[in-house]
Subunit: 415 residues, 4 copies
């Protein structure tokens, strides 16, 4: 089968990949600052024989390998790191700083994504006889701030590379290394941040009748917003709305002029997302009206991520390929409360996609924690300063998953 | 002085007045049902020489005594009783029933008002040499339901009797018998009742997203209405808003269609009253909007009483006459949270007015309770089934107050 | 295979089953009143050769068919109907009345459950050569009020019949007739009703400082209870809390003494259920404390249903049997917000169970509604006065599902 | 009469007083920094023949003039200014800075208090033949921060000067210059500031079930606190509770650990003050309990002022003296929402007191604003950067009021 042929080259390139990974982990770069990462990726892709476009949306890089008639598969890896000070104790731990001088760490494992995709790209290039079609390896900047995929698209991505038939992506997660986990349908939540400013009228605290109290207005708003999840979203529909900050006033004795709240919403379906957004606007306006506000609220949405809703057929096809390759280490992924901007890319092309997880945790550590029921506390998750995927079988799994998923479309046999 | 001359006749008529009072107390009639009371009042007024109009606004009676050039003073007494079963233990306690067969009791002391005004009317008629002008004795139905004064006005009162220069009225209250108590400016509150129906959309309790929850809507409304008194009315401005009832739904498991609340508002100034009313409407509409109600609320005002705001000059003049007559038993009345429709009458004529209280409680009982700090519990107040004014000096005080207040305008000397 | 052998008898008994169904549909009986239904079931079971115990928990009936060594499978059907006036227009529509004279209707389809189980019981008895073990057909009263299973258990069920190795049950649902739908893990919600009375202190509406306002207390409670779903239950954990009724006070002008709310909670996991219950108690007590209530709240739980959490292995085994029998008409059941007391029975025995749905809607009607996106409005659901399962293939499917699920344990081949 | 004799000296000292006032206005000092003011006051008092104690409670100064047998009257003036940049445009406007380098202004008119008391002290000393007893002129620091009177008492005030029989004080207010305004009973509010910290548990915004949300907790607290004024304080009892600030969290996506609110309460009676305080504590604890907080709230009271409740007899006596001196420019003072620490001094001695206002606004400006109904906006009030009392008749009135009020006790005739 194709997969066996392509993956036969893995043993030979493994030492190089591991070295590459350690170097990348030690040199993380924040979103939009992935200059070193991007340059090295482009250099490698060119060396493997890919037709490379770089500088897309800033630091984005795409390598295209045309290999005869057949489907076109795009595989995306994200490259950016986080402003976190690494506390893994690893020999290759980061001491890097960002452009602002602050600490930077690959605390979300994007270094494993880059490495695995480079490995897959190399193997695909080495075994062109085993498949047919076009393989596109896309390295995206700035997933964490949420505007990296959008930036590549706005920079003309869809006109600069062949249109894929399907898009694929994967993320390392705190599951046992060696596992791959797929989920048809909703997989990751949409996330929307809102900043809401309500306007009262200041007055001395002893004369509330001369003012309009924004502290009461904002408090009633926070209380009322609870009813969106409790009443407006069905009990079987996951959604969460958190007001993460509220600020108004400076001293006990004066009614302030304004109040500001910031909130975050996570949903999994576009109509739920829209329903929640409409409810936020409706409730905010109504609470200002209830207070008799002379000026309407300002409602600003920022930092929005789409939901990641995997195509059913695509997911089934990839999951079948994983079962064939990984056996019972191919699992079903739980619905995640995290968010991603990957899906912007297939949506820009108008093509189906699937996004899956692969484990990065030492399986023994995981098993012990599972036994004790302490996974949440004992297994460091993404964005944690102690997040440290074990190199193997994590990288091998990432490379193999990248290869077999692509071959589910490009291969000449069953994945 | 005029007052001495007019009041000289009191001793002679006192036994008749007391007998009249006991009979009237034993035969109370509900608002709009004061047929016996009205007939006997008219009969007496005619016997005293008054020009009598009866049947005004149903059972209203007015006697006019023209006595030469001079001002015109209108004095009003209310005649109706309450649907309360009397528990005073008095020998002349009521066993009467209303048109609906239920118990009736003069639990608000209107019987003392009627008796005192008849006594004053008789004394004024007997001593015409002591004063000049026109004396109008008005007996009003239906003060308790709040539409008796309005009913007389709507029935043409202002065109049927001479226009007064001033209107006067008094009410027996749980202060020591013998006292008269005046208050310039706001004295009694305006009262407004509201019935508010909010509309949701029913759904099974397990599917709140298919409904619009009127229980939550009404609850938020009750909570929000608290801010009217806490934030929209100044701290030195008396106002109270009570939601006395809330009703929605029949079982735990269904989201109902509607919810209804009833509330009562008391204020003392017309602009405060209007401000509160506007706030109720504003908040109710906004809370329905916040819930996404498909149909706006119904807000019905019913049972409204105006505030009783005594004219400053009129009150000062009457208070001075009381000081001359009653010495240190002439007091300042505390602001009252009760309400009255008397002021509709002077407002219909566009003339000033004052309204005062006179004591009806056994002074010794009152003093003992005051010493113990138990007036609120030991002195039965108006509308209590045990409310039983002592006959004297209550009636004497009521007659004397009615005479000297009128003579402050009609007399030929200082009260 | 066993199933083919047993089901071979279906054609012959179908006319009798359909007649039985029409008669039963026309003679519905409310929970605890299933006297006619119970008697006829017992009569039939005896005729089929079952060892019958009746009168268990009132009208419960159990037939036991011992057929050599092997596992014991218990299959449960519920028998009761609802106090709803039927509006199906069917020739065999109910005109029955309950003991209280009110209308009764098989609006939840328990008549299909009874008929299907009788059919399966008869087929199992006719083809004893095709299986080995013990088959227990249990007909339960009073599922709707939620105390029928408990009543049989309290009446000694576990000591009166053989201990099963597995328990099975099924429910007709508004899916296309012909489908069977299974779901491992949580399938139906737990439901708990609460009646909460809070105690204030009555006072005149103008003197809130002398009272403790239960209208405000209950309203704040309703508002605060929203935070249980919005904040205390995770976004991926289904739960719903509906306050279905609130009642306090009789007129606008008096602060009442008490307020009562009723609420319904649905959850799918025992620890979530407990967490919500604890939160209700905690919040209710705290809101009463916030109001300064002199007397604590009364919190009464009533009408509780357990969650129905299907055993994973059992469900997988039954689902596999269904796939073999029904092909692609064997589906995955969506998580349901309804509740059931069936699981009380296997829990009383300490054995695993699974509960599934089978379709009752005309497939063409369903397909048209699905196309229009109007299933919710055009397909009458359970408890609707127009709920009318098509007789076939509904009954056939119910019988076949009952047979093949039992044979997954008792048969000598793969289902 | 005494007053005529003493006030006869006013014409002669007026130019000096006005010069003193302009100098003092140009050299304001913040509370506890009144070094220059204090030194000059002490110097003058000594020059007038007073027995002077200085440095009491920091910068406090007391002058005692014993003049034979008779009562002892203490008159208090406060000396401190405010951290406000003056915008009066006066030739003698302040350009002073405080110890912290910020602007300082006599924006509350304490300079008129100091000047008027020095004038009265001088006149009293010059006309000892017109009165008998002891006159105590007390100059207090730090009224604005609220701890100046307390500081003098804690520094031994009551043991360092003769015990007065009565204490007097006055304050310039935005009424027409020339008026004096007295009020028996409650006159100025008590003020209490509270800082409340509530404790939640932080969590990611997508996992509210792992946290305890302090934003919701604090918002519910703000909402619940509204019910203190709306429900727990009677409608005729003035009280105001303002939450002037609320702060929690830093970004939309994390549930913070804590929230802090600051609030201010104003009441006029000690039992109301205590009732409100108890309600704040009760409600705060209950709201934390409702949220399931693991740690109770911190409730800190700071910046407390007592209510100023004038002794009835003392006020009547002073008011009568004012009527004799000022005719119809002696008025009744409205209840004020401001607060004062003067009453700490008479309370420390256990003697009665009264505190009144005198006008500082140009009477013509005031009359025009009154006509237009724009007093609130056109007449700059205390603490406003444009607050500029007209020098006369303001100072004359202050001096005369100080003299005649003292002579109501010390004089040999009727005031």
């Amino acid at each position: 089968m194709s997969a066996d042929t392509v993956l036969a080259g893995l043993d030979a390139i493994r030492p190089d990949l591991e070295a590459y990974y350690r170097d990348l982990h030690a040199h993380p770069e924040l979103g939009h600052q992935e200059r070193r990462t991007s340059a090295r990726v482009a250099e490698r892709l060119r060396a493997y024989g890919y037709d490379v476009s770089d500088g897309i949306g800033g630091t984005g890089v795409v390598g295209v390998l045309a290999n005869g008639d057949g489907p076109c598969v795009l595989f995306r890896a994200d490259m950016d790191a986080l402003p976190i000070e690494e506390r893994t104790g690893l020999p290759y731990a980061s001491t890097a700083v960002g452009d602002d001088g602050g600490p930077v760490m690959h605390a979300c494992g994007h270094d494993t994504h880059v490495t695995a995709l480079l490995g897959a790209a190399r193997l695909m290039a080495q075994a062109r006889e085993a498949w047919k079609g076009t393989y596109v390896a896309l390295f995206q900047p700035a997933e964490e701030p949420g505007d990296g995929a959008r930036g590549m698209i706005d920079d003309g991505l869809t006109g600069r590379i062949p249109k894929p038939d399907v898009c694929l992506a994967q993320h390392v997660l705190p599951y046992p290394a060696g596992q791959v986990l797929t989920r048809p349908g909703p997989a990751l939540s949409a996330a929307d941040n809102y900043r809401i400013t309500v306007y009262g009228r200041s007055a001395h605290g002893s004369a509330p009748d001369r003012g309009i109290d924004p502290v009461v207005m904002a408090s009633m708003l926070v209380v009322r917003l609870q009813t969106i999840v409790s009443r407006e979203v069905g009990p079987l529909t996951p959604a969460v709305l958190t007001v993460g900050s509220i600020h108004s006033g400076a001293n006990p004795n004066n009614i302030p002029e304004t109040a500001e709240i910031q909130l975050n919403v996570r949903t999994y379906e576009e109509d739920v997302r829209r329903r929640v957004r409409d409810a936020i606007v409706r409730i905010t306006r109504a609470e200002c009206a209830a207070s008799g506000a002379l000026r309407g609220p300002e409602i600003e949405r920022f930092g929005a991520f789409p939901a990641t809703v995997n195509d059913e057929d695509t997911t089934r096809r990839v999951a079948a390929a994983f079962s064939a390759c990984f056996g019972d280490r191919a699992k079903v992924l739980d619905l995640q409360t995290a968010s991603e901007d990957f899906s912007e890319i297939p949506k820009a092309f108008g093509v189906p996609f699937t996004y899956w997880g692969f484990g990065g945790t030492d399986p023994e550590l995981y098993a012990r924690a599972a036994e004790r029921g302490t996974i949440a506390t004992d297994v460091p998750g993404n964005h944690n300063a102690a997040f440290a995927p074990v190199i193997q079988p994590t990288l091998d799994t990432g490379v193999r998953a990248a290869v077999v998923s692509a071959l589910a479309y490009l291969g000449n046999g069953a994945g």
